[in-house]
Amino acid sequence: MSTCWHCGEALPANPPLATVAGVSHAVCCNGCRAAAEWIDKLGLADYYRLRSSPSARAPDPQAAQRNAQTWQRPELARHVVRTLDAKHSEALLLIDGIRCAACVWLIERSLSAVAGITSVQVNAAAQRARIVWDPARTDLPTILAALAQTGYSALPLDAAALDDARRREARAALKRLAVAGFGAMQAMMYASAIYLGAWGAMDPATREAMRWLGLLVATPVVFYSAAPFFAGAVRALRARTLGMDVPVALAIALIYAASVIEAMRGGGEVYFDSVSMFVFFLLVGRYLEMRARHRAGNLADAMARLVPAFADRIQTDGAIERIGALELVPDDHVQIAQGERVPADAVLESAASRVDESLLTGESAPVRKSRGDGLIGGSLVLEGPVIARVTRVGADTALAGIAALVARAQSERPRLARAGERAAAGFVARVLALAALCAIGWSLVDPARALTATLAVLVVSCPCAFALAVPAALTRALSVLASRGVFVVHTDAIENLALATHAVFDKTGTLTCAELDLTSIDALDPDEALALAAALARGSTHPAAQALSRAAAGIAPREARDVRTVAGGGIQGTIDGRHFKLGQRSFALSDNSDGADADSVILAEGVHVIAAFALRERLRANARETLDALRADGVSVELASGDAQTKVEAIAQRLGIESWRARMSPADKLERLHELRARGARVIAIGDGINDAPVLAGADVAVALASGTELAQAAGDIVLDGNNLPMLAQARAIARETLAVLRQNQRWALVYNLSVVPLGALGFVPPWLAAIGMSMSSLVVILNALRIGRTPAQTQPIVPTLAHTTS
């Protein structure tokens, strides 16, 4: 076993050992060791048998303890803890590293061992835990420390998040769905009694009673379950647009009103069953859409994860105090330790350091910063500690700026009113006009038959088939795609996906993994050189060092001494009494020649080059196939990256992409998108990083990878689960199929209506025939929709991806 028993990461040269259930296991760090032994001590070692994927790397126990204590500060506690009553306080924690159900089991068990905790609810999908405790017996830092001990880092969310809008929405939707379901079943029962009774001998009193019962069960369905459609229709009409809700609301109102009138008159047919069923079908579609949206996460959670919660402020007397990052003000001096995130936009005041800004700019290589250079809040300090002066905080930071850009691009996106919606709404309006004409005409000719004929027009015209034509197809597509790991957040993404002409890909994290691959070794004795380099590189977190370690996995390990990492250069150390340097050319040879080939790593002894290792970015599995499939489908593919020219060019060549742009800032990418769209293109944007979020939000269809940052997912219309890039091409095929079915449905509804409405208006359609026609036309629409996705998913070779990173 060469990986950590707890988190599955690569082991260092001399791994610590954790003893669980009497057996020693090698782990990667002290954090993982402490977590494993603590879990064993609690008697929860079964977790290791139950889990389906390795845990997240455990936080460092000392740092976790220190962070937990910081939440004791009243300035911070005020924001995150809500006092329910004297004996109960409540907080909502965002927990990192919930990978499977076993994590939920472990968290619930381990926290119930802490005295004073009244309730723990862990939601794996949202990665949140709601915890209620007795403030007299325990406190938030104890709870956070207990979580950290079990190996999970937790972040208390602002107390405002406790009034969870998403939870309220989900609950309301579920209740509406249940009422519609119950109502539809019951109404159907009474309706069958009436239909069957028409052939047998049903006395008029029973018939009458069945009608009133139908009214009884359908009324809550129309007034409670269907309320969102009416509200949406009113909103749309106020804004002088015709949304999807307008025809739906009109259809529901018409059928219900017609049935109520008939029930009152005691005359013709009632359609309470149809209207309830109609509402139920539509709500199922809405519910699926809502769940996909919730799964994709929200902007606020994404921001909370990115912005560091703490800062080490340097007091005027030189002491360092750990405070909450939101307490910082400009001109504060902060110290940032190695491996920590910059708490706010700042200016470097200490010696040079390397900073990883890949999360924000998409540039994969670490950036060298010297005194006076700006640091972006949220970037990772690779060599520290450094001292920085805070320049901008809160909403003024670059990170908050990106989030604002996302929000704006999202709200500005012209959501094209679907052609189908407009047609349906226009059609319903025409039917209404026709019904009015019919009523006036008949009341002049034969007032006794006016009402029957008018109702026949309303019923036989079946706005249902028209209103269902679009949602039935979309709902089916949504559930087919979800079962294949493609979560559609906004349904209009399906139409746009089918019609897209361009696809703009991000590079880092989307087409490539964060890992590097060793491609060639230029040395006299490659194996020996690799063994030496791997000995130096072992234990380093730099991607190049990890690539070397991986490549050397099969070679007998060598032991390096006095290994030292030099800021922005490389690693040096002694092996068997010989002194080696490994790193960029300028570092390894101590000369000033500029590193022309940034991806090449040099191993040198003194001034002699022993080996040059050529490295390149690893492509994501099936990236090439996905692009080929899209191109074959007539989509022109572009690459837009924030990374350096040479790297983007290399990847573009390997993937056969002709149109590529490098060094693009989020705003540049958005600009490029506007340019394409101004030329009439419909653009799919595919990305995973924070820097991609604005582009995603501004595209016609935004596809985010589920392995990417939360911010990108929050901006996405479609979230691809499990790094499954090739599903994009299949999703497009399903989207096209959906569009075809949708058009068939609409044509069918139109033809049906054109043929029966005139007959209805002239009074030739008896009520029972109108009812059958109405049900059949809706049924045809739904059965047609079920054809979508009948071709089984093409099986993809399952490629294990260890990459869990972002651009």
Partner: protein, 63 residues
């Protein structure tokens, strides 16, 4: 057909009862997380009593 006079009101009462029960369950967090609980029983093998002192049951302590 007189039996309908009893059965139909009864079915409606049952319907309302089921509706109330469902609303109660939704309000009491039963449907907030639809992904995890279905998996938990599969995992929930009887685990040994926690060795931790905080969780000691008085009955387990020898008299």
């Amino acid at each position: 057909m007189n039996i309908l006079v009893v059965m139909i009101p009864l079915s409606i009462l049952l319907l309302i009862g089921a509706g109330i029960a469902f609303f109660w369950a939704v309000e009491h967090d039963q449907f907030d997380d639809m992904d995890t609980p279905k998996l938990l029983p599969l995992l929930d093998d009887p685990s040994p009593k926690p060795a931790d002192a905080q969780h000691d049951d008085p009955k387990d302590t020898p008299a």
